[in-house]
């Protein structure tokens, strides 16, 4: 078992890949019986400080419908200078520049340690990065001031050659002409009518005028700083009982159209800053009457959300246009009420843009999260990349079913595309307009070998991931990852296949499928589907005597999987009624793009316990971990919660930490803060920070996440008075596992 753990970790470290199964069943039928599909989490631009890029073009297979990249799995005849493509078996001559290669002198791309390799390629003139700020001016004065300052600050973080533009909106939409001359000009659009790209171009005069809206930072930074400093709140008065008229839809349309007309197919970020929902024009989410609240999940369930369908369709069209041009859209939404993320989420989800949700622009959460958009890597380059195109090639026995992540389909048909779709399917290529080193896609495969066909020659299946992208230093690069796994006959080697199961990856991959379904299916149906897969998996791999639940056991490689599914069912990704539609959209947005470690934290939060009795230790996410003389640190990804047990809280209130003799208590209080620091310093988006204690109103963040093993239902039944009881009717993990075992062992299932 430990060998697979090592194997899994090495592969993730080197290639940014985690497969659900690391031994592949050699037939389609057997693969479906494994319940969890052969699938992987793939991080295309995983940070690899130890991987220097090579400065030449990749060598491609010459077969027109293959074009796989030369890789360590290829057979090479060094004497004849020929290589055989491992995907299509075509024999290809090496290009002339490879005349000097030999066994002893191999190019990097043939060496096993370069299963992941990056090429820097020349593709025309390097294009500058483009940042287009789209700013809502219907904000409270203090909020607007804070936002203005953040925008001014960001100008100092942008590279001098980046192009920058500004659109402001409220009731009207204003496109600001940036120049280094004194006079500030802008073009105004009505916020009520949508405009086609052509109309925008016509209305803003000639093409050269168009370019004056996007100018290099080094030329316009002083003027733009002043312009931002002078921005006023939207001048249209807001009557009592009304919302401001906010024309977000038209503003975005102008932004997308502007970029479409001037810089198609160049890396660009539209950054939308909003303080409330769109209330007029196309894409409006709610009317301006405050007495009509913005839609809740209940409204949506009762089909009582007037604008939902139309607005969603409007933003989807914009999102698709943007994606086609390789432009990404970020949404920075800071308001106490919802802002329409449910309708607008596709703008970011389809283009790889960020969604940041906060209460106000005048918070450290927004300010620091926004700063981190411009964070730099070990080379001093931005961590953002643009115009990503991911292509997946597979050996014959595999086909691609689809991808789940911040991408759109490029509709690339071919022999490796399966007819069964999972996620964004029907293609072997996807566009990821904006990506960073943690962007992770879920990719799903299908084994197509027929049952009883012999295990393929050479015994290994292969997948190649080719990611072309624009680096933030404007170079064009291609990263190629080629992996292989052994085929195994499920009839005779089921135990080996079982031991190759990566339960963490599988949990996240299945969870992504669940969230994907939840976008179009009813909640209870998704839960039923998830449950059914879990039961089937337990039936397949559980060791038990028929109809005897107490005999049920799972091997180590699957032992954590049911617990992950238990927490997934309770998670905000699938339980929506405790959150607003915007919150659910926000959580899901982040869930389907994070790497494995962060995704698992989201599914099953981490809980550490601090006490005088020993070093800090991870404890069960269970109510029994809540004890009076412990401090708990919980990380849900979206929140960091520090919870002081009852006794700790009393001591703290009494001020013992201020007394010299109780220095150790002071250190105890400090320890979780220090440990939380790394997370707070690096995570994007920055999490909320909850410092609470027993009986505190914010303790609910902890209480709602822990397994309610002690509830008011069973507290006295167990006869133990340990841990803090939770007031809930949620089923506990114990009850869940009992039910699961019963169903798995049942001969009538």
């Amino acid at each position: 078992m430990s060998t697979y753990q090592e194997f899994i970790q090495q592969n993730e470290d080197r290639d940014g890949v985690r497969f659900s199964w690391n031994l592949w069943p050699s037939s389609r039928l057997e693969a479906t019986r494994l319940v969890v599909p052969v699938s992987c989490l793939f991080t295309p631009l995983k940070e690899r400080p130890d991987l220097p890029p090579v400065q030449y073009e990749p060598v491609l297979c010459s077969r027109a419908n293959c074009k796989a990249v030369l890789n360590p799995l290829c057979q090479v005849d060094f004497r004849a200078k020929i290589w055989a493509c491992n995907f299509c078996f075509q024999r290809n001559p090496f290009p002339p520049s490879y005349a000097g290669i030999s066994e002893a002198n191999q190019p990097a791309e043939l060496m096993p340690q370069f299963s992941t390799i990056e090429y820097i390629v020349q593709r025309g003139t390097p294009a500058p990065l483009i940042f287009l700020y789209v700013v809502d001016t219907c904000l409270e004065e203090e909020d607007l001031q804070a936002l203005k300052e953040s925008l001014q600050m960001s100008l100092s973080l942008l590279p001098p050659n980046a192009l920058v533009g500004l659109i402001t909106f409220g009731r009207m939409v204003q496109v600001h002409e940036l120049s280094c001359e004194g006079i500030a000009k802008s073009y105004v659009f009505r916020g009520t009518k949508d405009l086609s790209a052509k109309q925008i171009q016509v209305q803003t005069l000639d093409a050269s005028a168009f370019c004056r809206f996007l100018q290099p930072v080094h030329r316009v930074d002083m003027n733009l700083t002043d312009l931002l400093g002078e921005l006023q709140r939207d001048p249209w008065p807001v009557p009592q009982g009304k919302r401001p008229l906010r024309s977000t839809g038209v503003a975005l349309s102008v932004a997308v159209g502007l970029l479409e007309g001037t810089f198609p197919n160049t890396g660009a970020r539209v950054m939308l800053f909003i303080g409330g929902p769109p209330t007029q024009g196309p894409g409006m989410v709610v009317g301006d009457e405050l007495k009509t609240p913005i839609r809740s999940w209940h409204d949506i369930q009762k089909d009582n959300a007037r604008h939902l369908k139309k607005a969603t369709k409007y933003y989807e069209a914009l999102a698709n246009r943007s994606a086609v041009n390789g432009h990404s859209i970020d949404i920075y939404a800071c308001a106490l009420d919802q802002t329409g993320l449910l309708e607008m989420k596709c703008l970011s989800n389809l283009t790889g843009g960020h969604i940041v949700m906060g209460d106000s622009f005048n918070t450290s959460l927004f300010k620091q999260t926004f700063q981190r958009v411009f964070s730099k890597d070990y080379n001093g380059d931005f961590r953002m990349a643009f115009g990503g195109v991911l292509e997946v090639k597979t050996s014959r026995e595999l086909k691609v079913c689809g991808a789940i992540g911040p991408c759109v389909s490029l509709n690339a048909k071919g022999s490796s595309v399966s007819e069964n779709e999972m996620g964004v399917g029907g293609t072997s290529q996807w566009k990821v307009c904006s990506l960073n080193p943690s962007t992770t896609l879920g990719l799903y495969f299908e084994v197509v070998n027929q049952h009883n066909a012999p295990v393929p020659q050479g015994g290994r299946g292969a997948v190649q991931f080719v990611t072309q992208y624009q680096h933030s230093n404007t170079q064009r690069r291609i990263r190629v990852t080629t992996i292989a796994r052994n085929w195994a006959d499920a009839q005779s080697q089921i135990q080996h296949i079982e031991s190759s199961f990566d339960q963490e990856a599988a949990a996240v991959l299945m969870a992504r499928l669940g969230v994907f379904r939840a976008e179009s299916e009813e909640g209870p149906d998704v839960l039923r589907w998830l449950d059914r897969q879990l039961i089937r998996l337990c039936q397949k791999f559980g060791q038990f005597n028929k109809d005897d639940p107490t005999s049920f056991k799972l091997s180590e490689s699957l032992s954590l999987y049911p617990q992950f599914m238990f927490h997934m069912r309770r998670s905000p990704f699938l339980q929506v009624f405790n959150n607003s539609p915007d919150e659910s959209s926000y959580y899901r947005h982040h869930f389907v793009r994070q790497d494995l470690t962060q995704s698992l934290i989201m599914i099953q939060p981490i809980l550490y316990s601090y006490s005088f009795y020993g070093p800090p230790e991870p404890v069960l996410l269970d109510s029994s971990s809540i004890l009076p003389d412990r401090i708990l640190l919980m990380d849900t990804f979206f929140q960091l919660v520090i919870f002081h047990g009852e006794t700790i809280a009393q001591w703290r209130k009494a001020g013992y930490q201020e007394m010299a003799e109780y220095e150790n208590f002071k250190q105890l209080l400090q320890a979780p803060l220090d440990d939380a620091q790394e997370i707070l310093q690096t995570r994007f988006p920055m999490p909320r920070y909850v410092d609470t204690e027993h009986g505190g109103s914010q303790a609910r963040f902890l209480l709602s996440k822990v397994n309610p093993s002690q509830t008011h239902n069973n507290l006295y039944a167990w006869g133990q008075e340990t841990g803090a009881p939770i007031l809930t009717d949620d089923v506990s993990l114990q009850v869940f596992m009992d039910h699961l075992k019963k169903l798995a062992v049942s001969s009538s299932a």
Binding site: T363, S364, Q368, N664, T682, D738
Partner: protein, 247 residues
């Protein structure tokens, strides 16, 4: 003081559950992420709820006189802290309680140099000195850079001067501006830029009106042709404040 270690503790007024704020330098001083908060406890094997030995009975009423926490046994014990590989950040506790410990936070290669070369300089930065450095650079720029740009920069340097003399700038800002002017004089463009960025990030409210002028000044000065640069640096070296320049 080491301002780079400064945190702003979370404020209940500003935002619900707003996290603490880290300074620009602390933000950038992060090393390779160790991700040490990733372990989970092993799942229970039986279906009974987990039992943990009782240390105190939480359902009993609180004791009449609070039992104090266990006392120190002699020396301070640090073993309750999580073992961090990068472990030096212990001193940067973000509740600014107590003086930092003897360990120093890690400094990334190429990251910002110490402010003014050390914390021995307790004397107040001199606005005259700082502004004269900046104005000297501007004067040199006037020989080759467009008037419009130079005038815009000058406008902002005046604003800086006014704000400083009116006492509107906090000590950290004044200190960093002094450091920036020294870096500019020494031709350390990247360092000067880093300081400008750190000021924009940490003190945007105080500096946003004029900082972009300083930023532009750095950009234009570094692009001056070599003769002009030499000219500028010659005058700097003969300046009587050269003792402030650290090795």
């Amino acid at each position: 003081g080491q301002e780079k270690d400064k945190y702003i503790a979370p404020s209940a007024e500003r935002g619900w559950n707003d996290p603490p704020q880290f300074s620009y330098n602390l933000q950038n001083a992060r090393g390779q992420q160790k991700g040490h908060l990733t372990r989970r406890a092993a799942p229970p094997t039986s279906s009974a709820p987990p039992t943990i030995p009782l240390s105190s009975n939480p359902l009993a009423p609180p004791p009449c006189s609070l039992a104090p926490p266990p006392r120190l046994q002699g020396k301070k014990q640090n073993c309750f802290m999580m073992k961090c590989c990068h472990g030096n950040n212990r001193s940067d506790g973000f509740l600014t309680a107590g003086p930092p410990t003897t360990t120093t936070p890690p400094v990334q290669p190429g990251s910002q140099e110490e402010e003014g070369g050390g914390d021995q300089t307790q004397c107040e930065p001199d606005v005259e000195v700082v502004l004269s450095s900046l104005n000297r650079a501007l004067a040199t720029c006037r020989q080759s850079v467009k008037d419009q740009v130079c005038n815009d920069v000058e406008k902002r340097l005046l604003l800086l001067d006014d704000s400083w003399r009116a006492g509107k700038l906090s000590l950290p800002v004044r200190r960093r501006m002094e450091a920036l002017s020294l870096e500019l004089r020494a031709g350390h463009w990247d360092s000067a830029n880093e300081i400008h960025r750190s000021l924009m990030v940490d003190h945007v409210t105080e500096v946003s009106q004029w900082m972009v002028g300083v930023k532009r000044l750095i950009a234009e000065t570094r692009n001056l042709n070599p003769e002009l640069l030499e000219q500028l640096q010659d005058t700097s070296v003969t300046d009587q404040d050269s003792d402030l320049l650290q090795g």
